[in-house]
């Protein structure tokens, strides 16, 4: 897709492209509510700059003129950044984060900040203060979340790529629901500088794209060490190569039986088995494996993530920026009222949960225990990846559901149950669209690999993508 657009930029210029994209974005915003802020004027100016570089015979970079969208928890200097919350409704980014900076350096043009579940807490896009985003493939259904707007922006064809963030599955799950690619890289591969923290030890910026090739290209441009993020891995970024076309011959792939259980939608199960057969025919070795810690992984996630959330979100207090309750008289009232009115119910639920988990009395029995289980899960994955290359599973147990269909938070969290374990282990994983099932609902396949195994993931994802390319 990017290659096609680059050609267009070269022939017609970036300005003309941005003009077209702007018209489409305004239209799709009406239909799907994919964005919180549009940056179309700035995009036009950037396009003119890129055109003058092109006209002068200079190379503005590998993404010259490519329109991109950013999840609204990424900082982009001078623009609003709301995290989908009332508490940051009028917050303007004072700086640009590393990943976004790298995208711009490569010549990409930011056309808007996308809608999201409030503070990335949700799996349907429904918790946004700015209203839900509709799934462009099925506007009566949710696009998934929390990177709901980024997935929708790619699915509706507004942009070929968008950045999202993935903590428990917030890139992969909406990618699956919207029929696009979604990559969550190895923890520490993309700098978190300029990503509003949810759960710092799990958060990663991810890429949503219309093809595996585009995913790999963008990943190669924004990964790599960043001295501004102390958890960033001290390694060179991913280097683009032709290996994504190499096929799956010789790959050892495991399908965890725990991911194929009763709760899995039967047509999705069939789809996975169908792909499995094709993998075997193409020379891959596919076997059933076991990930016994699946259940503990969910429990662990819902202890560690809220604990970090409660701490990371403490800064939203109405003192320096963001919403401040106007009627508050005292300092304590200012804190309580600003936060009570500024945060939505799901955010408050997790802050309270996390505060309780870290309180003396609970810290050891919950938090410390969860850390131990987490390192156990990491070891379990390590052991698995000593004998196989990739884990293959559905991305979600169900296809996208209808608005309001899932109300219970526990049931909602099931939408992330297949994506959470690898998140906790800091491993790279990707959702790739593998056609559709009944009612034309999209299905996503998830590939999980060991640390730094993104090249292998891309290879296998490309193989699957080709099967269902129409």
């Amino acid at each position: 897709m990017i290659k096609k657009i680059l050609k267009k930029v070269n022939s017609d210029g970036a300005f003309s492209l941005v003009k077209q994209v702007s018209a489409q974005v305004l239209e799709s915003q009406e239909k799907y509510n994919s964005y919180i802020t549009l940056t179309l004027d700035r995009a036009s100016k950037r396009a003119q700059e890129i055109d003058s570089l092109l006209n002068a015979g200079k190379n503005p970079g590998p993404l010259a003129g490519i329109p991109v969208a950013l999840k609204d928890n990424l900082l982009y200097s001078g623009e609003k950044m709301t995290c989908g919350s009332k508490i940051l409704e009028n917050y303007f980014s004072p700086y640009t984060g590393t990943a976004v900076e790298k995208l711009e350096e490569a010549g990409a043009i930011v056309i808007g900040k996308t809608n999201m579940d409030e503070f990335a807490m949700g799996s349907s896009g429904e918790t946004s203060y700015f209203g839900p985003t509709k799934n462009p493939l099925h506007p009566d259904r949710v696009p998934g979340g929390s990177s709901s707007g980024s997935a929708a922006a790619v699915a509706s064809g507004d942009v070929p790529i968008a950045l999202g963030s993935d903590t428990g599955g917030s890139v992969r799950q909406p990618a699956s629901f919207c029929g696009v690619c979604g990559l969550r890289p190895t923890y520490g591969r993309i700098s978190r500088y300029g990503l509003s923290a949810l759960a710092s030890s799990i958060d990663q910026i991810g890429v949503l794209a219309s093809s595996v090739e585009d995913t790999a290209l963008v990943y190669s441009l924004i990964s790599g060490h960043d001295p501004k993020d102390s958890t960033s891995l001290n390694e060179k970024g991913y280097e683009l190569s032709d290996s994504i076309e190499e096929g799956v011959k010789g790959l050892k792939i495991g399908i965890p039986k725990e991911y194929m259980g009763e709760t899995l939608h039967s047509e999705i199960r069939e789809r996975i088995l169908e792909i499995s057969n094709k993998l075997v025919s193409a020379g891959a070795e596919v076997k059933e494996i076991s990930l016994p810690s699946l259940e503990q992984a969910l429990a662990t996630y819902y202890i560690i993530a809220p604990a970090e959330i409660s701490s990371n979100l403490a800064r939203y207090d109405g003192v320096r920026y963001g919403f401040r309750a106007p009627e508050a008289q005292t300092l304590e009232e200012m804190y309580i009222e600003s936060r009570t009115q500024g945060f939505g119910p799901e955010v408050k639920r997790r802050i309270l949960l996390g505060t309780s988990i870290l309180s003396s009395g609970n810290y050891e029995s919950y938090y410390l225990k969860a850390l131990k289980v987490r390192s156990m899960i990491k070891k379990e994955f390590e052991k698995i990846f000593s004998s196989i290359d990739l884990i293959f599973s559905p991305t979600t147990p169900t296809p996208p559901f209808k608005f309001g269909e899932v109300k219970d938070p526990m049931e909602m969290s099931m939408a992330d149950s297949y994506t959470i374990p690898s998140s906790l282990a800091g491993l790279p994983a990707m959702s790739v669209p593998v056609g559709s099932i009944e009612k034309n609902l999209p299905v996503g396949a998830q590939l999980i690999g060991g640390t730094f195994s993104e090249p292998t993931i891309f290879r296998c994802a490309r193989f699957m993508e080709k099967i269902y390319e129409s």
């Binding site: 978190r192 923290a197 958890t231 403490a314 920026y321 309180s359």
Partner: protein, 472 residues
């Protein structure tokens, strides 16, 4: 003060480390200034901003830890201490909790429990009806030093602090100025009846802004607690603020109301790893400590205990002395000591200038003392030369040369001055001849005036006597 009770004191001392930049961002680490001019996304707690540890802080913290004989932990952890306060931009302070950078040291006779690194908070400025936040100081690097609860009197606490201040200033980790807030101290104090009893209920004293207030607040607290205990009452565990105006401590909050800080390790910062090599390298930067240096000044330079003490009080002064001594020679150590502690210190004090900003170079003071000792310059001339040196920063040789101030020793020249004075003052000559030999002093004075102080007074004295004899 209170013979009925055994006093137990523990101190928690915060020291602001001297580094170019703050603990977790690259803002300048300078206190004061226009509010909110030394801030960035990190130290104002903007979303998405991340802390990056300043390696220079590690050097300074390890140096401080070694100076007070602590054991360095090769792996330490940054934790978040969580509480809401408007001077804390993220509403958590990054500190070290379970695993500090250093533990188990001692200074003087007092045990040190731990030393850890943490960030400072900003400052609240209360104006009529509203409060403003200045974050210039936010995320400035601090170390907190916690003593064992084994100090037994306010005086001992004061001595410990003075000693700590001197040592840390020597090591160059901080200027430790309590008034400027670069050294802050909280004190825990409890009383008990017998040595075998468990420690009594403690109060934690805050707002102690000088060594003197530490001692006074502890004195007051001993009185207050012993009155409660002797009348059969119970001390409650609480935080008390020292009030400089009323000279009392006042209860602030009791333990039950105190916060649960919900510590957990900071997921934005990896463990702090310190290799043995690094510790050994830092150790080479540890200077000779004040006590050892004082002893050496006595034995090596033949100075009195008192002079050696004065000269080694501050490292800058001691360094200056040794530098100057190289020029004037070991034999002049006492004269140099007196020049440095009287003339130089006097001038610096009068102008409020520190030794490090002394306009007179140590080598220059050394050569002035050498000139005096060789009889090239009289005491009075030396004082004028010194004044000039202090003002201009020139060397004494330069000033002597320029002003022609060199002592006159030539017999012909001195004869000429003396003859003129005898001729101009027949009355004095007459008095002298009458046996009033005391007037010789006045005549010497006249010669010195004529020679603009340059004639060698000893020679003038001899010459005058010789010439007057001839009148008889």
């Amino acid at each position: 003060m209170s013979p009925d009770y055994i006093v137990t004191i523990g101190l928690e001392v915060h020291v602001h480390l001297d580094t170019k930049t703050k603990l977790f961002c690259s803002c300048p680490n300078i206190t004061g200034g226009e509010p909110n001019t030394r801030i960035c996304p990190v130290c104002t707690g903007q979303p998405g901003a991340l802390p990056v540890f300043n390696e220079r802080v590690l050097f300074q913290a390890v140096l401080a830890a070694l100076a007070i004989n602590c054991r360095i932990n090769h792996r330490s952890i940054f934790a978040r201490k969580q509480y809401f306060y408007p001077d804390m931009p993220t509403n958590y302070q990054i500190t070290q909790h379970e695993l500090p950078i250093a533990e188990k040291g001692h200074l003087g006779g007092t045990g040190i429990n731990r030393l850890h690194i943490e960030e400072d908070a900003g400052k609240l400025i209360h104006t009529g009806g509203s409060s403003l936040v200045d974050l210039n100081r936010a995320s400035a690097p601090l170390i907190e030093i916690v003593t064992e609860p084994e100090i037994t009197s306010p005086q001992e606490a004061g001595d410990f602090l003075r000693n700590l201040r001197q040592i840390l200033r020597y090591a160059g980790v901080s200027d430790c100025d309590m008034e400027k807030g670069s050294m802050r101290c909280d004190a825990n104090i409890s009383l008990r009846k017998n040595q075998d009893d468990p420690l009594g209920v403690k109060s934690e004293l805050k707002n102690l802004n000088s060594f003197r207030s530490v001692e006074m607040a502890l004195d007051y607290e001993i009185l207050r607690q012993s009155e409660i205990l002797s009348s059969g009452g119970e001390v409650i565990q609480e935080t008390r603020l020292w009030d400089e105006d009323s000279l009392r401590t006042k209860g602030m909050r009791t333990k039950e109301e105190s916060d649960d800080y919900r510590f957990f390790s900071d997921p934005d910062l990896p463990p702090l790893l310190v290799g043995e090599d690094f510790v050994e390298e830092v150790a080479t930067y540890l200077p000779e400590m004040p006590d050892a240096r004082k002893n050496r000044f006595v034995t090596e330079f033949g100075l009195s205990e008192y002079d050696a003490g004065v000269l080694t009080q501050e490292k800058d002064t001691a360094d200056y002395f040794e530098e100057a001594l190289k020029v004037c020679g070991l034999k002049q150590s006492k004269m140099l000591a007196s020049w440095l502690s009287v003339e130089v210190a006097g001038q610096l004090n009068a102008l409020g200038v520190s030794m490090s900003d002394n306009p007179v170079k140590p080598a220059h003071l050394g050569s002035l003392v050498r000139e005096i000792s060789q009889g090239n310059v009289s005491g009075t001339m030396a004082k004028d030369i010194f004044a000039e040196m202090f003002e201009t920063g020139f060397s004494p040789e330069n000033i002597i040369e320029k002003k022609g101030l060199k002592q006159i020793n030539s017999e012909d020249e001195i004869n000429a001055f003396c003859e003129k004075v005898l001729k101009d003052n027949p009355d004095l000559v007459e008095k002298y001849l009458d046996g009033k030999h005391g007037v010789l002093g006045a005549m010497v004075g006249q010669v010195m005036k004529e020679s603009r102080g340059q004639a060698n007074p000893k020679k003038v004295n001899e010459t005058l006597r010789r010439l007057i004899e001839k009148f008889q």
